[in-house]
Symmetry: C2
Subunit: 147 residues, 2 copies
Amino acid sequence: MQNLQADYTIERFIETCHEHRLKITPQRVAVYKALVRSDRHPSADMIFQTVKKDFPNISYDTVNRTLLTLAGIGMIDIVEVFGGPKRFDANRKDHHHLHCTKCGEIIDFEYREYANLSVPKEIAEKFQVTGKRVVLKGRCNMCQPKH
Amino acid sequence: MQNLQADYTIERFIETCHEHRLKITPQRVAVYKALVRSDRHPSADMIFQTVKKDFPNISYDTVNRTLLTLAGIGMIDIVEVFGGPKRFDANRKDHHHLHCTKCGEIIDFEYREYANLSVPKEIAEKFQVTGKRVVLKGRCNMCQPKH
DNA sequence: GTGATTGCAAACCTTTTGCACGCCA
DNA sequence: TGGCGTGCAAAAGGTTTGCAATCAC
């Protein structure tokens, strides 16, 4: 997973914020860093718990609003879930998801063959597609029924 | 959308309930029917509003619990969302989703070419895949930026 | 009859909102 | 300085839980 994060730099973060007229605050930087460092699609609360260690005074609200703001400008993603709190992702690489229907975990994977997924013509005409993802559902390693 | 629903019969519903030792109650039948008739991935509350017309005494709880129970035995699906309440789907056909990042709508589509999506070998070894879905993100017809 | 299911109410968790203060540009 | 962003507190929305009464089998 480590290499997935190579593309992120704080400089880039600052640049993108400027483009969108967003102020650079220590809180925003901290939230973004925490998200980039995680590979577990954390919820706002998980990020909050992490950031609080360095920023004891930060509020949950700020974390949540920052995540929504960053998602709004496309700097991070909101990940599809099957219930429960929103989960976020700073992984900008083309990747796909395994979803365990038992424990709810969402696991990233990359797969070249999915890169060229075509979009049906009728859809491309009406719908401006900005992202494609394959979601595989099933039971993860830990949740397989034992015999 | 009409044809998507052809496969559903109450007989089948009853049969599956029996297999799983679930009792057939009027509430369960009503909830299931309401879901089958909808093509909009309704939330528990949307189903509740519908069923209430015929069943003024049904409680939101019963609706919600019924949906979770049916999802638990695989008779219906919980649909991936990007925040907000759980959404359900009784469409058992192989289909895929358009997700509008603006209004949040999730739209079904079918596409033959996605039927044969391969699963990476490393994943097939560890992960018991029970479903595959392509999720396209973007702006729907209504939400396209106007010029 | 008996155990599963329902309806109700309270509790819980996440997200949203309004506002005054403080900080970044 | 001006306005955006933060922290706080309250409200709103969705989901879960416990329990007594009821219903399907």
